[in-house]
Amino acid sequence: MTAERQMELTLPMVPDIEIAAARAAANLARELGMASESIDEMAHALIEACINAREHSGSADRRIYVRIVGTSLAEGNSRVDIWISDHGKGFNVTEARSRRQKLGAVHKRGWGLQIIEAHMDEVDISTNADGTTIHMVKYGRLEEPTGSVAR
């Protein structure tokens, strides 16, 4: 297994910056031939991870650190690893995972982690008082030749 594509981004915590990260990851995954639906799932997870960092980390440097590694696997499959890090205050993963809001609930927000875990194949969270890193993995099959990847 050889890493074929790699990039690192340092992003300011400003509105809609998550789109820049999602676009970068999507371009890398597209170069690997990943199917468009897998790319879209990965992009939505990445967007939520960036929003969580921006909205909840409380980091002093107001930066999101993104590392993306794309790897070609056997039989046309591919794998994209993404690390989203911040230097914030960390959070309680168990509490975040236990949230299951319902219609009419006071808190309609806080769905980011559930969305990330549903859209990605593997998610690992390291968090403490010095910051948080979410490592997430998406496996993708090769895009069908007749497929229409949005460009």
Binding site: D16, E18, I19, R23, S36, I47, I51, W111, H119, V149
Partner: protein, 121 residues
């Protein structure tokens, strides 16, 4: 993903009869986009609309904050005895709606024609 737009969400409305409407969105449904949809939806509700279809054909990206605002719109419509439907969702947006439970309280349709027929718009 190549169709992601960071411009403000655009919304268009097609009134259908006295109590129906189709609301078309174009762009990213984030907090700002969600509020734009909510403003238009509440205007329509105040004007008597009780059957509202949101056509998301030209929306490729949503986030959880935007969806939470859509849920608030659904709640308000249910309180008024009305109904909200969604159509033309990408597979990922459909999946995200299901994760957040939105699909339990609003109707999801594959295409606009089927939605209009089912919702009698």
């Amino acid at each position: 993903m190549g169709e992601i737009m960071t411009d403000e969400l655009r919304v268009a409305v097609d009134r259908r009869g006295t109590n129906g409407a189709v609301l078309y969105t174009k762009g990213y449904i984030n907090n700002v986009g969600g509020e734009e949809i909510a403003n238009r939806a509440y205007e329509l509700m105040d004007d008597g609309v009780r059957s509202l279809l949101l056509n998301l054909r030209e929306t490729k990206i949503v986030n959880s904050i935007g969806i939470s605002i859509l849920i608030e719109i659904i709640e308000k419509m249910i309180d008024k005895g009305g109904r909200i439907g969604f159509c033309c969702l990408t597979p990922v947006i459909h999946k995200t709606f299901q994760i957040m439970g939105l699909a339990n309280y609003a109707s999801i349709f594959t295409d606009e024609d089927g939605a209009i027929q089912e919702m009698a718009l």
